[in-house]
């Protein structure tokens, strides 16, 4: 990661020529370090079902990245919202369980699953109703409720929200290797919810409430940028086996995408997922901005380790207000 290039981020310059009036122009107070590495790596893996050999698929997929995991404490952060029968709201517990087993098999010292749901205060109920409790118990993997973890004041390195600090869970800050495991979904406020939006879940309800309304008022896209700059995920495993289109993140329609996306850069992961969804990532405010300093979005700066992006995709359905997301 290079910090050699530092400059002020101007949303206006970023968006020049895109014609995307719906994309919010954002800027951070002060100087923002360019954290992009020269190239990011992404692997798109085919997997059509949660009943498939997910443990093997993930071990093989992770080996493509040659990660240094020995002795590291790995924290898996799935997207757990609540259980809605028939809806593909949450990261699938089998995929999370398989990821835990895979990281241990590849040398991680420990693996924890941690999440702080945004609206449902009873995290244990979410775990029970979504099948997470049974899965984690079977695999003997621990869980931490980030909404009620000990909190630590962390200064923000960017100030898109105007906040100068966030209270964050000690468990997340102590983890040696944070893995964002989003569900690939549309989102009726942010456009899409992928690995970067998924980190909203590390902001503790005990400090900010249910929902984390301070962040909504400061701007969801702005908050996503500040959170991801403060708590960068080291790796992404995105659940695109079955995603959600339409009125996501809760009431959309299941969409069989048949993919798991792995990446060593959340921005590269989210640009790739958006492209698989038929959504123009530069039309998503937080992605467009993140591609300027947090990680790589440009195709020429992303090395595809698995299959290539398909030439054509059937775009995810979006709410009428978000029709611009699918435009070139």
């Amino acid at each position: 990661m290079s910090n050699s290039m530092s400059r002020r981020i101007f949303g206006g310059a970023l968006l020049a020529g895109t014609g995307a009036l719906a994309v919010e122009r954002m800027r951070s107070v002060g100087w923002v370090a360019d954290r992009r590495k020269p190239r990011s790596r992404v692997a798109i893996l085919h997997e059509g079902s949660y009943a498939g050999p997910l443990d093997r698929v993930l071990v093989d997929g992770l080996r493509l990245f040659d990660l240094e995991l020995h002795g590291k404490s790995v924290l898996l952060k799935p997207n757990l919202v609540e259980s809605i029968p028939g809806a593909e709201v949450n990261t699938n517990p089998r995929l999370v369980g398989a990821a835990a087993t895979a990281f241990l098999a590849l040398g991680a010292a420990s693996v924890l699953v941690a999440e702080g749901p945004g609206h449902q205060r009873d995290t244990q109920l979410v775990l029970e109703e979504t099948g997470f409790s049974a899965e984690l118990k079977e695999r003997r993997i621990g869980f931490v409720d980030l909404n009620r973890d000990e909190i630590v004041k962390r200064p923000l390195v960017t100030q898109f929200t105007g906040l100068d600090h966030l209270w964050l869970p000690r468990t997340v800050l102590a983890a040696g290797f944070v893995v964002s495991m989003p569900k690939v979904k549309t989102h009726h406020w942010a456009g899409v919810t992928l690995s970067m939006k998924n980190l909203f879940g590390v902001v503790p309800g005990i400090a900010y409430g249910w929902p984390k309304n301070v962040l909504h008022w400061r701007g969801i896209d702005r908050s996503i940028l500040d959170i991801n700059a403060a708590v960068p995920a080291h790796f992404v495993i995105a659940d695109g086996i079955v995603g959600m289109e339409g009125n996501g993140p809760l009431n959309g329609t299941p969409r069989n995408l048949g993919r798991i996306v792995l990446a060593d850069d959340p921005v590269a992961a989210d640009f790739t997922c958006a492209r698989l969804m038929g959504i123009n990532p530069l039309r998503v405010s937080h992605l467009a901005q993140a591609g300027e300093f947090l990680g790589n979005g440009a195709p020429e700066r992303i090395i595809q380790l698995g299959e290539q992006l398909p030439r054509t995709v059937e775009p995810f359905a979006v709410l009428p207000e978000f029709a611009y997301l699918t435009q070139a």
């Binding site: 409430g209 249910w210 929902p211 008022w217 009125n247």
Partner: protein, 318 residues
């Protein structure tokens, strides 16, 4: 609550209280959710659970001192470590606890006043205008407002409900009164009635988003019903109680304990409530058989209260 229940669960409740004492942070009567950091919610709930388990309350008054030591200068509490700032839920829980445990009225009044004066963003006409004309994806009436979780945000169901429960108690005890209080109590109750989910019950506070009804949550419904006990004749309250009575097979002790405390406050309104209460307590007892394995201290305290024999600390009309 009923002595019958008390006897049936005496041993289990003893283990829950023992675990609470074991988790008390060194040197003071304060508790954390799961670590070593002061947290207002588990501290308030643990103090209440221990208070109702004792025949004498004299020792408990001294135990309020550590909770009071975390009170901020304006009379509010943070949810956790002192630098975390004002939290309405934490404040309402703490003041309710102070009153029940017998803190002197001067001590309680400061915090009651702070609670009355805490307003959400919708108290501003500019924000109401924004919701009326530009931000209309979530269906609610911004003129009916309650309390936010933290300053500079809008009203939500859980902090509003707890503020109503606490302020009603303060009013009955003569700690507060006047037109401003009555206005806040009225608006808060109206806000809860406005935010109800289709078919009854409450979630965080978004009943309909982009035209789609969202599902209620058990704990939010329970706390809201506690706050609306005096409004039982309202169809919204009756429907919500019916919805909650259908949730007694809940798989989580936290929600189930809140459910029990809520429907206990309605035990005299219908023939179906007491049997449901008994079934819910049996279910809860199964879920909390091993208190040491429970991660969250608040859940242990709530379970002790729900299986206990004392006054219901969340019953508005108590």
């Amino acid at each position: 609550m009923k002595p019958l229940f008390s006897e049936k669960y005496r041993s289990l409740r003893g283990r829950l209280l023992e675990e609470l004492l074991h988790r008390r942070l060194p040197g003071a009567a304060v508790w954390s959710h799961c670590g070593t950091q002061f947290c207002a919610e588990p501290t308030s709930l643990a103090l209440l659970a221990l208070f109702f388990s004792q025949s004498s309350s004299s020792a408990m008054k001294d135990d309020l001192k550590p909770l009071l030591a975390h009170r901020l200068s304006d009379g509010t509490w943070p949810s956790a470590t002192d630098g975390a700032g004002v939290n309405v839920w934490a404040t309402a829980l703490a003041v309710n606890t102070l009153m029940i445990l017998g803190a002197d009225s001067v001590t309680s009044k400061v915090s009651v006043k702070a609670l009355v004066q805490c307003r959400p963003l919708e108290a501003s006409w500019l924000v109401r205008l924004k919701f009326r004309f530009s931000d209309r994806q979530v269906r609610f009436d911004p003129a009916k407002y309650g309390w936010p979780w933290v300053p500079d945000t809008v009203s939500w169901v859980v902090p509003t409900s707890m503020a109503l429960i606490t302020l009603e108690r303060a009013k009955r005890r003569g700690l507060v009164g006047g037109a401003e209080l009555e206005n806040r109590l009225r608006l808060g109750a109206e806000m809860l009635l406005d935010r109800v989910c289709m078919g009854g019950g409450w979630n965080a506070g978004n009943a309909i988003v982009y035209g789609v009804p969202l599902r209620p949550h058990i704990d939010a419904t329970a706390i809201a019903l506690g706050a609306l006990r005096l409004h039982y004749q309202h169809p919204v309250v009756r429907n919500s109680l019916t919805w909650l009575l259908g949730c007694i097979q809940c798989r989580s002790a936290y929600s189930l304990a809140w459910l029990i405390l809520a429907i206990d406050a309605y035990r005299d309104v219908g023939a179906d409530v007491v049997p449901a209460l008994a079934a819910a307590r049996d279910r809860l007892a199964d879920l909390v058989l091993d208190p040491r394995s429970m991660a969250d201290t608040s859940t242990i305290a709530l379970a002790a209260l729900a299986l206990g024999a004392g006054e219901n600390p969340f019953e508005e009309s108590a």
